[in-house]
Amino acid sequence: MTAEQSSALPREPLLRVENLNVTYGSHDPASRARIQVLHDVSFDLMPGERLGLIGESGSGKTTIASACMGLLAPSAEVSGRIFLEGRDILEKGEASIAPHRWKDIAMVFQGAMNAFNPVRSIGWQIAEAMEVQDMPRGRFGVQRVGELLELVGIPAAQAASYAHEFSGGMRQRAMIAMALACSPKVLLADEPTTALDVMVQRQVLDLLVDLSRKLELGVILVTHDLGVVAETCTRAVVMLQGRNVESGTTKELFHRPRHAYTAQLLKASPGYEARAREGAGDEPPVAAASRAPVLAVEGLIVSYPQRPSLRQILTGSRPEPRPVVNALDLSVAPGEIVALVGRSGCGKTSTLQSVMRMQPASGGRILFEGQDITALQGRALRRVRRDIQMIYQDPYESLDSRFRVVDTVMEPLHIHRIGHNRAERMALVREALERVGLTPVDDFLRRFPHELSGGQRQRVAIAAGVVLAPKLILADEPTSMLDVSIRSGILDLLVGLCRDGGMSVLMITHDLSIAASYADRIAVMHEGRIIEEGPALRVALEPQAEHTRDLLAAIPRVDPGPVVIAH
């Protein structure tokens, strides 16, 4: 592998990681409390190159980035070598890395949401990076902060803003500007776009590629998204359980994966083209039109009150509420999966909350099985809620950490007084866990959420909804917090519940490709309205609205283009 690369790229590598091992816990090699998170990881990074570090959660990809920055926990034991332009910076541990921090190796963190100090201005924080590295300060510093912001497409005047005043995409750009403050040679980007919606993701990735070319910057892109790697990286390293299982140029890796795991990852990535080829999505699986819809939303308006300004307080007038959902029509037939697709802030979550009656509707009607539930109260509302269940985005947050699996799944039965005794309820709990694929059930019943993987947690959350045998399941980005290989399992489960269980699913997602791969129907939402609606594959393959086309164009494709060398 190394021979191949050095012949293709004759220059000296910018960063070379050699046999990197990281171990946590006990110093005694025989102890069970000792966990090795990295095993002999090696790779090179050339100047101006973008290297993808692919892996799922727990594969050790973030540990590699932290090791390069010297940010590992003090309990970590590190061996191996990291060469920066031929010098070993790992020789004396953190002490020998510290002088290179930000000056030579800078990092863009995951979730720029919290990577900025909320009480200091963005400009102050960028200037601080230069100040502690003895770069010019004062007027020259201010000017440089402005230049850096302009470089990432933020007006220099915004330097005085605080993080909360920036959108997610702007924050990530500002983070990149801060990373570039001391003109580093290597940029580590740890899941830089995971929390962003597809269109913003596209902008940030384009920026990274552009900067890497312009500044001869070596970029290591840590991600679990193969599409992101395919579109931005020249080479990639695949990580599995702390080992580098495969590396090579992106094209080779994606077209001729040598390791079974790489192939599995590629298969797990959503590709609705395959579904189209199978011809599955042409006719709806159920005769949707013939039956009365489970859910019909007619002209729904959801608006949030605005804070009054001083003048409005003094004159006693109220500000106009801001409509987030504006005259929305939507229907879900029995046994159907409908995906509501849109960018963040388009009102899809408000719609879902309104259907769940957690957010009052300001106008319009919500019909559930023909019954108007828009203004139901008390007992009648509780009866309807039994038939509408919600699955949340983040299974790490949505499960009570002190509830065992059996408690979580049984709680809804208690609330709705289903089952006469514990044995009856237990039988229902077991059935629900079996339906979501947590078998053998006895292994899971007594576990706490921290003893489950992310996918298992989401299955428990689904079981807690399914146990009531609802007619409609509302799913709020059910897979966006999960690893790629687990996603398809959860989505297949939802599809299965519809096909066999007679439930309907209304799912919201920002990822059109997921929607196109699994849903029966897609409704594209933009600024509070549905702008396009139709059978899933028709929307994905022949989009009518311009916004739908933009959304489609922004999805990173797993296909990195044709292989130049013939087989």
């Binding site: 510290a98 919290n114 900025f116 601080e128 409005q312």
Partner: protein, 320 residues
């Protein structure tokens, strides 16, 4: 513009709170069984006519809403009634008591806050080290002592060395302001120390946990990656964020201190607001109690308003 709206909202909320408290204060003493007349007319052979005359004299024969309006009007003119106990206007009594309390309590609170901040910050930055164990352990110990026990121990241990009762030596007759000031300061040492010991621990523990939470935030990792030195991370990045919950908490506890200083004032015979209220309860001096409650409400509301305004200064997210 928006920030002015924030200020206006806060001020409005404070005004409403005080108005509600004033009304409750009125209702509370009307709900109590009996009134001033039943109290006075408890003499043998008191005739019905005499009771009527007394009620008319006190205005108690008027409808309740009119009484309320009179109450509001008089209060607006600074008339809080006359104390039963010493026949002085309640307002004068309260002002004198507050004037005595504020120097002692303010000194104690400020010292406790400062000490708590320093101790909490040091403990958090040396988490699980010997310094942390020592500081946190002693803070928990101090927190566990009841104020009255600590105060009595102070009196027993130091009463020979330092004055342990009153706020001034009644026999000191001196023209030199320095001697007077010295005498006041000496009298303050024991009560202030007691107050600091009972209060600093809470501040230290809150600061420590708030600091630890902040140190775990992503932006601290960012700062470390930037190469910011540890000391600067703590002082410039963490402390300012950790302060936000501390400001709210200490404003709330400051309010209770006004009345909470009762124990300290009684033990050290400090003629402040706490002891005044304590004595008013013993003497069933209703006008005095009513005035005292009102004063405490106003002080607590003002302190909360101050905390909100401090938040406004410290947290740009509130300013937006």
């Amino acid at each position: 513009m928006l920030s002015l709206a924030y200020l206006a909202r806060r001020l409005f909320a404070a005004a409403v709170t005080i108005l509600v408290a004033v009304s409750l204060n009125f209702v509370l003493f009307r709900v109590l069984p009996g009134n001033a007349v039943t109290h006075i007319a408890r003499i043998p052979n008191a005739s019905v006519e005499m009771r009527r005359a007394l009620e008319a004299k006190f205005g108690l024969d008027k409808p309740i809403w009119e009484q309320f309006l009179i109450y509001l009007r008089e209060m607006a003119h600074g008339n809080l009634g006359i104390s039963y106990a010493n026949r002085q206007p309640v307002l004068d009594n309260l002002l004198e008591a507050f004037a005595n309390t504020i120097p002692m309590v303010a000194t104690g609170v400020v010292l406790a806050l400062g000490l708590g901040l320093v101790v909490g910050t040091i403990a958090a930055s040396r988490r699980n080290g010997p310094a942390d164990h020592l500081l946190t352990g002693s803070a928990v110990l101090a927190y566990a002592f009841p104020t009255q026990f600590l105060g009595l121990m102070m009196v027993i241990l130091f009463s020979g060395l330092l004055p342990a009762a009153g706020m001034a030596d009644p026999f000191l007759i001196s023209d030199s302001w320095w001697e007077v000031a010295q005498d006041r300061i000496l009298h303050m040492i024991l009560p202030v120390t007691t107050l600091v010991l009972t209060l600093y621990a809470e501040n230290a523990l809150i600061t420590r946990s708030s600091m630890l939470e902040t140190l775990g935030e992503d932006y601290i990792l960012t700062a470390r990656a930037k190469g910011v030195p540890r000391r600067r991370i703590i002082l410039r990045h963490a402390l300012r964020n950790a302060l936000l919950p501390i400001v709210t908490m200490s404003a709330l506890s400051l309010g209770s201190i006004v009345s909470g200083a009762i124990l300290v004032e009684v033990i050290f015979s400090w003629p402040g607001i706490g002891r005044t209220l304590y004595e008013a309860v013993l003497n069933r001096d209703y006008p005095m109690l009513q005035g005292g409650f009102l004063a405490i409400t106003v002080v607590v509301t003002m302190l909360n308003l101050t905390a909100d305004l401090l938040h406004f200064v410290l947290d740009p997210r509130v300013r937006a």
